[in-house]
């Protein structure tokens, strides 16, 4: 492991009713979060390769944790998202290095497919900062019922020299979706959009 991981946190959320109306089957989403040391905290470093490699490791580790929390085969995942929060001695670019170049491939490998872009968000903040992980259908970004977001936070992270890295996976869309648009039964899943 390249990453010095201080802690890993998993969240599993299951919604059973909304406005008194049953959600059946319940919608479920999971997030796995790693709190890692930022090897470049406090200084400007031009070459961010090390963080890109950490992203690749975490792509696999966190996706496996999230899928395990859901208790489903990876191929049954429906939507996904990723996000990172950098502690105050780091740069937004450090989050970008983890999230964008290499993290996606192992995520898709664990989930079987994943034709769609993995929606992402990033920020800099202190311990306990909330992170909203955007969610979209993994094979067709335009599936309207699966546009969503999951808020997570870890009260003692990120410390100033740390980065909090999160991957969210669901087995469903929003509870009681009813605003039309493309639905999951209509997906072609070829171009990642529809």
């Amino acid at each position: 492991m390249k990453a010095n991981i201080r802690k890993i946190v998993t969240f599993l959320e299951e919604t059973r009713t909304e406005m008194g109306k049953p959600v059946d089957p319940p919608t479920r989403r999971a997030a796995a979060v790693a709190v890692i040391e930022n090897p470049f905290a406090g200084r400007y470093v031009e070459d961010l390769t090390e963080l890109m490699e950490i992203g690749e490791e975490l792509g696999s580790l966190l996706t496996e944790r999230a899928v395990a929390a859901l208790g489903i085969p990876g191929a049954n995942a429906e939507s996904y998202g990723k996000a990172a929060a950098v502690g105050e001695n780091g740069e937004l670019e450090h989050a970008a290095a983890i999230l964008h170049p290499k993290l996606g491939t192992p995520v898709r490998k664990t989930l079987g497919k994943g034709a769609a872009l993995i929606p992402s968000s990033k920020k800099r903040g202190g311990p306990g900062v909330p992170l909203d992980i955007p969610l979209g259908h993994k094979d067709a970004a335009f599936v309207r019922s699966h546009f969503d977001g999951m808020e997570i936070r870890v009260n003692d992270a990120p410390r100033d020299n740390e980065i909090l890295v999160a991957i969210a996976v669901t087995d469903s869309g929003r509870p009681l979706p009813r605003i039309g648009g493309l639905n999951k039964t209509q997906i072609k899943g070829e171009d990642g959009l529809r």
Binding site: I8, L12, E13, E14, T17, A69, E151, N155
Partner: protein, 194 residues
């Protein structure tokens, strides 16, 4: 008494490897089970509420089982516990007190012979309110290495007419415990205190 209506359940698992010191040979795990339920007494003063405690027993048992499962399935690994409640703004603090008996009963039932009082906290709050759930050793309240707390919360709960109920279990001491006092290895385990 009224039926227990669950809107949402959340499981949160933390695996702590280190906190800047030497990495532990066995990582500490802390897990929280949260349930968001309708508060049947919201919006009015109801004198007779205590019957609801018994109605909460099955939910408590279910949450305690889910916690043991989240920690790997063996109740023997559990060394610390705690409980808490956040009451939505149309309810009273006293409604949160309804959780003391069923929450404690449920964990003792699942953990076997746990002797110590289950530490607890409660408050009234809106959606996203955070609660620090206190944690102590399951057999001897004075074990200093196991004094801990876990922050929990759910962005969209509790609504005004809801209650968020929490149970917490941990597998060991604080990750770098070193402030002396009674050790887990020294407890007599008779009075629940030492």
């Amino acid at each position: 008494m009224p039926e227990v209506k669950v809107r949402k359940r959340v499981i949160l698992v933390e695996e702590v490897f280190h906190e800047g010191g030497p990495a532990a040979s066995v990582p500490l795990r802390r897990a929280a089970a949260l349930a968001v339920i309708h508060n049947p007494f919201a919006g009015k003063y109801v004198q007779e509420i205590s019957g609801f405690m018994e109605d909460l027993n099955p939910l408590g048992l279910d949450m305690a089982k889910a916690l043991v499962a989240a920690l790997g399935g063996d109740a023997k690994v559990v060394e610390g516990y705690g409980k808490g409640a956040i009451i939505g703004q149309a309810g009273e603090l006293e409604h949160g007190a309804l959780w003391h008996v069923p929450g404690g009963y449920a964990m003792r039932e699942i953990l076997g012979n746990a002797k110590a009082i289950v530490a607890s906290s409660k408050k009234v709050g809106g959606p996203g309110t955070r609660l620090d759930v206190p944690i102590t050793h399951i057999n001897a309240s004075y074990v200093r290495s196991h004094f801990d707390a876990m922050e929990v919360g759910i962005p969209d709960a509790p609504k005004a007419d809801e209650m968020l109920l929490a149970l917490v279990m941990t597998t060991g001491s604080r990750i770098h415990a070193r402030v002396g006092g009674l050790k887990a290895s020294e407890i007599k385990g008779e009075d629940g205190l030492r």
